[in-house]
Symmetry: C2
Subunit: 445 residues, 2 copies
């Protein structure tokens, strides 16, 4: 809980914090862009200035975490994500500055329509209001999402992992210090929640919180969606495919498939299944499988894959394999008879996250891009590019496999909505319903 919230009794604590955040969000929404950026730049400076403090707090968290790893109560990978460094802190500050440098997401006129003489309808972007975000261990989340929230005029309730509590508390303190250097910016804009009970309470506040972003396992995202009426931005599974077309440049295909699987296998945008056109499979698969095996990737193949690869290198895939997100150095391989078969396989087993075709045939590429229903549909590029930073959003809010609101990697736009602002000279609907006047509906923008 934020400094200012410490005195509040835990039971009603989160509702109270959310109410203050809501009030703060009203003030943030009308701050001008320059002031919102001022806060970000002040925070970035403070992060660098207080680097030693951040690293000390992180040391404490890592000390406790190392103990847990040695006792087998924390996976090594989680420990790695928790640890930051001199360079890590610099990157936090740089990330915040990058968000400050982005275009203002608020007050953008999405359209302007002349409904009639002197009656103009504009559609303008505005903040969502109050956003709740729940995340684990990584200490760079607070600088990132804090920057995105303030840049887009939203208040934020954050709940980090217990294992990063010292680091997170230090970072939120720096945000509050940055905010407090501007009298017109409300310190209630950013709050840190402490316990799982806090999260449970937050999920019930559907009148006060406009969006929940759970970053974590699929089961956690499901839990949040089941236990809250607040809209949820999150993703289910990332079952991504690379399809090597009959007209693929096989060198590119080797590189893209390898990168999509191995560059960071735990990521949701890593490939789980490789689809290979039968025309190129005999030439492509032996080399691809050998490359995977050298990198200790387990390969599970369909019968045709088994027939083409040396038997010791490929394990038979079961039906379940096509629907599994391994998040690990395992890949399933399926030989298909056509591009249409590849698309069918993707629509049957894919999770609508990221799908890539490797081909030199422009028509095949266009067909794939138009036909495949996913947040990202790629041509000759690794699925691992599906990421807010790589897309140029400055920071990432999370990746959504929902089709509504934000789809794919979410940045500032995921934190905005819009409102319709008609301005008239006293017009009433009766004039139009009687036919005295008719609408013009002239699109001005």
């Amino acid at each position: 809980m934020s400094d200012s919230g410490k005195a509040v009794a835990p039971r009603s604590g989160v509702a109270d914090v959310a109410r203050r955040a809501k009030a703060a969000s009203r003030l943030l929404a009308v701050l001008d862009a320059a002031r919102r950026n001022d806060v970000l730049l002040a925070a970035a400076d403070l992060i660098e200035e207080k680097r030693a403090e951040i690293l000390l707090a992180n040391e404490r968290d890592c000390g406790a975490a190392a103990q847990m790893v040695s006792e087998g109560r924390m996976p090594q990978a989680m420990f790695e994500r928790l640890r930051t460094s001199e360079r890590g802190v610099s990157q936090m500050a740089a990330g915040v500055r990058e968000v400050a440098a982005l275009d203002d997401p608020l007050g953008r006129e999405l359209s302007v329509t002349e409904l009639d003489d002197d009656l103009t309808l504009s559609k303008v972007t505005c903040p969502l209001g109050v956003v709740g975000i729940i995340f684990e261990s990584r200490p760079d989340v607070i600088p990132q999402v804090g920057a995105l929230a303030l840049k887009s005029g939203n208040a934020l309730l954050m709940k980090g992992g217990q294992e990063a509590s010292h680091t997170n508390e230090t970072l939120i303190r720096l945000w509050h210090e940055a905010i407090n250097s501007f009298a017109d910016v409300p310190v209630d804009a950013l709050h840190l929640l402490n316990t799982r009970e806090d999260v449970r309470e937050m999920l019930a506040l559907d009148g006060l919180i406009d969006l929940i972003i759970p970053r974590g396992s699929r089961s956690f995202v499901d839990y949040v969606a089941e236990h809250s009426r607040i809209p949820v931005l999150g993703h289910g599974e990332g079952i991504c495919h690379v399809y090597v077309d009959r007209a693929a440049d096989l060198k590119k295909a080797l590189a893209i498939a390898f990168d999509s699987k191995t560059q960071y296998p735990a990521a949701c945008n890593a490939a789980e299944t490789l689809l290979v056109h039968e025309a190129v499979a005999p030439q492509f698969l032996p080399e691809m499988v050998a490359q995977f095996r050298r990198a200790r990737v387990e390969v599970r193949g369909c019968p045709r894959t088994l027939a083409l690869a040396r038997s010791r290198e490929v394990i038979p895939a079961s039906e379940d394999d096509w629907a599994t997100e391994y998040s690990d150095l395992i890949i399933s391989v399926h030989v298909v008879s056509s591009l249409e078969d590849a698309v069918k396989h993707i629509h049957l087993y894919g999770s609508g996250h990221t799908e890539s075709i490797v081909t030199e045939d422009a028509l095949a590429a266009t067909t794939f891009l138009e036909t495949v229903d996913a947040a990202g549909v790629y041509h000759n590029a690794s699925t691992r590019f599906a990421d807010g930073f790589r897309y140029g959003f400055g920071a990432e809010l999370g990746i959504s496999t929902s089709k509504l609101h934000a789809r794919g990697p979410g940045g500032l736009e995921g934190l905005t909505t819009y409102k319709y602002l008609p301005t008239g000279k006293g017009q009433i609907v009766a004039t139009y319903s009687t036919g005295e006047r008719t609408f013009k509906h002239k699109r001005l923008k």
Copy 2:
């Protein structure tokens, strides 16, 4: 259920229909705009051609409904909404043609970013997929939502009111006839469901249906949201306000407040509460109240309102009144001390639907438009303009008080999402994570 679905056993019926709709949606998504419009124009022609058939079916529904009204089992207002006419049928056809004439909502490039040399990210609109819509009595819904769905490349499961079943079956038959005149358009694009049990089944199909639009009472929308994991586009309450500022043109204020309340009191965009600045209340309220009373509008006032109006004309308002959607010829009136007080009242009691300020003071208008958090924030215009037709969307899908995805009146845009389409030359992420290359992130569009 559609013609083609009649043979299916009811238990598994809806899932089967949804699966066929999903397959149809894949085909619709890649139809070109001209063909999608062809279907709409063919349907419009058929609606006019088969006018007598539609009217006959409507007669049958109205006959049964009249019986129910006489037995007190159906409200008169529902009967009125059910009945169509020669002119009503012409308007159905005209509405479908209007949607056909709108710009293509698909394949619009929302942005293009050069991530690096030869690696371009475009963000392009595409259909949602399969949409379920549940509505009551009004026979013009099927032409409207059918047109919006096909125009935007979506398949549709529709469930109309039992009372309109003959009219709805005739209209869906005409849609199927229109679709069948084009070999490349799948007839499974539009389905009519029959029973409440069908609706219950549909709500469970979160893998197959992308969006549910419940049009009906708030309790019905709540029921759907509680019983489905499919995203819901709908609105809760419409507690809309007209605020008469100290700098209001009182003639405009009289007309706007009167229209907002009385032009169609059952609509969600009708005003429920009138807020009046204390500086103009003594001059404005007596005339306003008199005008309302002449139109048999019940007026419920705060103590200051009671003091300003003749006592017999105004009933004292209770705290509950400020939070009530009357949907009837009742209005609550509150005198406020400032624009800030008006905004506070709106944020405390409003439902985020539509709010209007009447003022000649440009600064007051700007403050109101920027500060008020609602789907529509109006200046000098009636709240009753909040409507898809009046906004120029050609038809209306429903009005959303959610901030996510579609906010306010929804048209074609509410039925689209987008996908990211990066095209490269074989790029992999490893090249960037090692620092060998860095991103350019040059916004091209």
